[in-house]
Structures are given as structure tokens and as C-alpha cells.
């Protein structure tokens, strides 16, 4: 049985924001991560503010300039299946399709997916770790086979989302509403690395919420894809993965956004790979150089060195597939 909490389901954004002002209020969208965190005692909640009744933030709309606005309460299944996302922003559809299990995709929302709490087993377990207000990160010198090889500092989680890396690659923007009004933050700056603050996963304040995710129009020649490697076909989180958004011109890479999943505490943009492939055809030589560049800055822990060769393989395979057009989109 969960601990006691009050519950309210506001019918307007304004009312929801007012309810969120309650100390220790927690937002409920799909509820899948929230209920898990409450059960596992990751945090408590005095009041659950459910925004599941805010229909204005469900569904996908075209923007006037050819992009898309995705309501934060759109389910992962709806994101995966949406025809415009499938055809124009394939990486996002693929990422959504890789999330958790069918039941969780049917319930979880895109807004919730990018706001997930980490899956580190010390954090989720009974350990009072640094991120939960404790003294140390137990993954250091501990069982760190699923931890990060990039961006670790104080805390060594990996970011669990499969939709955030494609959103960063596709240059999406998060719309955030709070008591001060509305602000827009690129998804690439939405997540907070532990080097900046190891207690916070996103830039959201407790009284703010994500209302929409906006995709800019897809440039012509865009091929985007998301690949996730994991130990088990369902449920599992990424061991190493990559979202690609490459604009080709005459079969040459004109512009590239490359974002890794499963290897860093935030969706990890690899400018090294981007530089290695921009202006080039993705032939074997270029791809091998890109794979070298991908892992050059990696700092593996005692038990996750395997992620380096895994990531190399993902980079090589996906870049070759992108050149051959096997990942059109």
C-alpha cells in the first residue's frame, strides 16, 4: 500500500498550477514513474496533482511552419504511431517504440518520459545516496555495470529516456508553464548534468510543468533514427544507444546531430561524432573515424568498460545504415 496523500484532478491549467504550489505536491501525468517512485520511497508526496484531465495537452498538432506540437500528455504509444511523427521524425517514433512495455507505453506520457527519475539501482534501492541527499554515490567502487561512461561527476547515473535523445537530435523545444508564465527550453538544455547539480534531473522548478514539446520543421534531406541496445527485448533500459538526425545533400552529410542514450547522466550529444562526419560521405573510413571519436572521451568505471565497444558498434552500424538510406526519415 502506498503512503497516504491528498489527491486533486484540476480541470484547468491555472487550477493545476495553483495546486502545485502546495509544498511536497507531486505532478501526476501517466503516473507510471510517480507510483514507482512513491512505492520505492524515492520521495514522498503530500498531495498528488493529477493533470490527466487537461485534454488541451493531449495529441499532436501541426505548426504553421511545418513542425509539430506534441502535448505533454500524449501517450508514448500515440507518439510512436502518429503518422506525421513516423514519416517526418522517425527517430522519435522509433525511440517511443523502444520504451518499456506495451502497457507502460499505453499509459506513460511524452512529458513524463523526459522527466523520469533515474534507474540507478542504488538510487532506486534502499541506499541513501548522494542524489537522494546522502553522502556518496554507491556506484563508485560498487556494482557499476549499468552506469555512465560520459559526464559522471559525483553521481554516475545514466539517463533512462528513449525519447529525449531523439528530441535533442531533432532540436525539439520544451514548453514549460509555471507561476511566472511560460518559458521555452531546448530539450538539449532541459536535463541537468550532475556536474551542475546532482540533486536535480531537469531544469523544472517544483511548481512548473511541461505542457508541450515542439518539433521544428524537418529539413529536406533529413534522415533520423534511434537505435537502442539492451539486455532484454522489453522493459529494459538502454545499455548504449544513439539518436541520429542527419541532413544529407548529394549523399554527403550537410549537418548532423548525434545524441547517445544509456551512457551518460543526460542525453549525451557527441559533437566529436558530428565533427567527424560533417561534410563527408559516410564511407567505411569516415565511419571508423567517427566511432573512434565517439568513445575518445569515455571514462569507464570498473565494470562498464563493455559499453565502449558496444557504443562503437552502434555508431558504426547506424552511420552506415544512414548513408545507405536504410533509416530514411
Amino acid at each position: 500500500m502506498l503512503s497516504n496523500f491528498a489527491y486533486v484532478q484540476p480541470q484547468s491549467l491555472k487550477a493545476a498550477l495553483k495546486q502545485l504550489e502546495t509544498p511536497e505536491a507531486r505532478l501526476h501525468a501517466g503516473g507510471t514513474d510517480l507510483l514507482g517512485c512513491l512505492r520505492e520511497g524515492i520521495f514522498g508526496a503530500k498531495k498528488i496533482v493529477s493533470i490527466s484531465g487537461l485534454n488541451a495537452f493531449k495529441g499532436v498538432r501541426e505548426t504553421s511552419n511545418g513542425g509539430l506540437r506534441i502535448g505533454a500528455l500524449t501517450t508514448i504509444t500515440q507518439v510512436e504511431r502518429h503518422p506525421a511523427i513516423r514519416s517526418r521524425f522517425r527517430a522519435l517514433s522509433q525511440g517511443a517504440g523502444e520504451v518499456a512495455s506495451p502497457q507502460l507505453r499505453n499509459q506513460g506520457t511524452i512529458g513524463g518520459n523526459i522527466c523520469q527519475k533515474p534507474r540507478c539501482w542504488y538510487y532506486r534501492g534502499e541506499f541513501h545516496c548522494l542524489r537522494k541527499g546522502g553522502e556518496r554515490c554507491y556506484a563508485v567502487g560498487g556494482e557499476n555495470q549499468y552506469h555512465c561512461i560520459f559526464g559522471g561527476e559525483n553521481c554516475f547515473i545514466v539517463h533512462p529516456s528513449d525519447t529525449a535523445p531523439p528530441l535533442v537530435a531533432l532540436e525539439a523545444v520544451v514548453r514549460i508553464v509555471g507561476p511566472q508564465g511560460t518559458r521555452s527550453v531546448p530539450v538539449s538544455r532541459f536535463h541537468v548534468p550532475p556536474s551542475e547539480d546532482f540533486r536535480q534531473e531537469t531544469v523544472l522548478a517544483p511548481d512548473e510543468m511541461v505542457t508541450e514539446i515542439i518539433l521544428p520543421p524537418a529539413p529536406s534531406g533529413l534522415r533520423s533514427s534511434y537505435r537502442k541496445v539492451r539486455a532484454r527485448r522489453a522493459w529494459d533500459f538502454s545499455l548504449a544507444g544513439m539518436a541520429l538526425a542527419i541532413t544529407f545533400k548529394d549523399n554527403t552529410v550537410q549537418k548532423a546531430r548525434v545524441v547517445f542514450s544509456g551512457v551518460a547522466p543526460v542525453p549525451w550529444r557527441s559533437k566529436e561524432v558530428e565533427v567527424a562526419i560533417t561534410g563527408r560521405r559516410l564511407d567505411k573510413e569516415t565511419v571508423a573515424r567517427a566511432a573512434d571519436a565517439a568513445v575518445r572521451e569515455a571514462e569507464p568505471m570498473e565494470k562498464n568498460g563493455y559499453k565502449i565497444s558496444l557504443l562503437r558498434g552502434v555508431v558504426e552500424e547506424e552511420l552506415l545504415a544512414a548513408q545507405s538510406g536504410e533509416s530514411p526519415g
Binding site: 491528498a6 484532478q9 518499456a100 502497457q103
Partner: protein
């Protein structure tokens, strides 16, 4: 969402009537029920019971619940619908799978208050009197279980899959059933049963 009251009245059975009365006795039966107890934005307080109504297997149940109660808890402990099983209670095993508006979800990860306004179907809702549903029959014929504990969840996942995709490819079956674990490892037979149920459904409809 408005419920189809005619359909509901027609499907009232003696047992269902008693169950409804049993759990709803403390609630004023007149009174206007909104689809959500909190749709007027009143806060349900912890430890206090609030009125909700759930539409389960074609019937409306008026209930008093605590905000923290899950749909799984309410189905089993308050409505006596024990076909829905308690497994991991963390959204990982699928034993508690039910349909909400024909879409499979985990009842353990859903608060009962959040299930208002949905048409909920549990294993019991697949029965036609004493007859089994098509997926249930296929599971029986294909011996798609050993201990049977995960079976209700597997069957609900299969029902949801076939409603969404009446002609699932082998890959679509594997993917559609991937949110349900079977510790006995009856996966091969489960796959065959779902495949068969799909074919049978297409043949008859």
C-alpha cells in the same frame, strides 16, 4: 465521459447488483456523480474516503476509496474481481493487466481515482455466462500455462492486442505480449494460443 446507462442497466445481474449495493451502501445513490469525484477540483484528503464510480465489465460501481488505492487493489479487494492478479506491483510482470477503453494497462500502476471515465475490462468480463472467450479457449487448447498465475494478465494483453491489430504478424504478437512475464516459461504455447485466437476471431467475425 458519459456512461451508456441503458447498456449498463441491461447487464445488471443478481450478483452484480448485490456487489454494487454492498460497496455502495454508504453512498447516497441519488446525487449527481460527475465522471471524476474531483472534477469540481475539490481535494480528496489522505485517509478520507471519497466517492468515485468505476465502469467495470459493463457495470457501474459506486465506491468509496482512498486516493492512494490502486485500481488493482479496488478490483480485487473491493469488487471481488480476483481474476486480476497481484504480481510485482511495480509495472514489471503484467499479471495485473486489464483493458481500459480496450487498451491494455497495468492496474498496479493506476490509481483507482484515475480509472474513472474509462471502460474497464477484467478477465471476468470476457466470460459469456459460463462460456469462455475466444482467447481464453485458445489458451486452454494450447496448454498456454503451467501454474496459471500470469494467465489472466496474458489473456488481457492478448485481448488488447487483437482488438488493436486483428491480424498480428508473429513479430507483432511477440511485441504485443512483451509486457507480460511467465515464470514457468510457457511462452511458446502462449504465442501459439494468441496466434490461434487471432485466426479464430478473424474466421468468425
Amino acid at each position: 465521459m458519459e456512461f451508456d446507462e441503458t447498456k449498463i442497466k441491461m447487464s445488471v445481474t443478481r450478483r452484480g447488483f448485490l456487489t454494487t449495493m454492498g460497496v455502495g451502501a454508504a453512498v447516497a445513490v441519488t446525487g449527481r456523480y460527475a465522471s471524476g469525484a474531483s472534477s469540481d477540483e475539490t481535494v480528496m484528503l489522505p485517509e478520507e474516503m471519497a466517492k468515485i464510480r468505476l465502469h467495470v465489465n459493463g457495470r457501474v460501481h459506486r465506491l468509496l476509496v482512498e486516493p492512494r488505492w490502486t485500481l488493482l487493489f479496488v478490483l480485487r479487494e473491493k469488487l471481488g474481481l480476483t481474476g486480476t492478479k497481484v504480481g510485482c506491483e511495480r509495472g514489471e510482470c503484467g499479471a495485473c493487466t486489464v483493458l481500459m477503453d480496450n487498451i491494455p494497462r497495468y492496474a498496479c500502476m493506476t490509481l483507482a481515482v484515475e480509472a474513472q471515465g474509462f471502460e474497464i475490462t477484467t478477465l471476468e468480463g470476457l466470460m459469456k455466462g459460463e462460456d469462455l472467450g475466444r482467447v481464453q479457449e485458445a489458451f486452454l487448447e494450447h496448454d498456454a500455462f503451467q501454474c496459471g498465475y500470469c494467465t489472466p494478465g496474458q489473456i488481457m494483453a492478448a485481448e488488447g492486442l487483437l482488438k488493436d491489430d486483428p491480424e498480428p504478424s508473429p513479430d507483432a504478437i511477440r511485441r504485443g505480449m512483451s509486457g507480460n512475464l511467465c515464470r514457468c516459461g510457457a511462452y511458446t504455447h502462449i504465442f501459439e494460443a494468441v496466434d490461434e485466437a487471432g485466426k479464430r476471431k478473424r474466421g468468425k467475425s
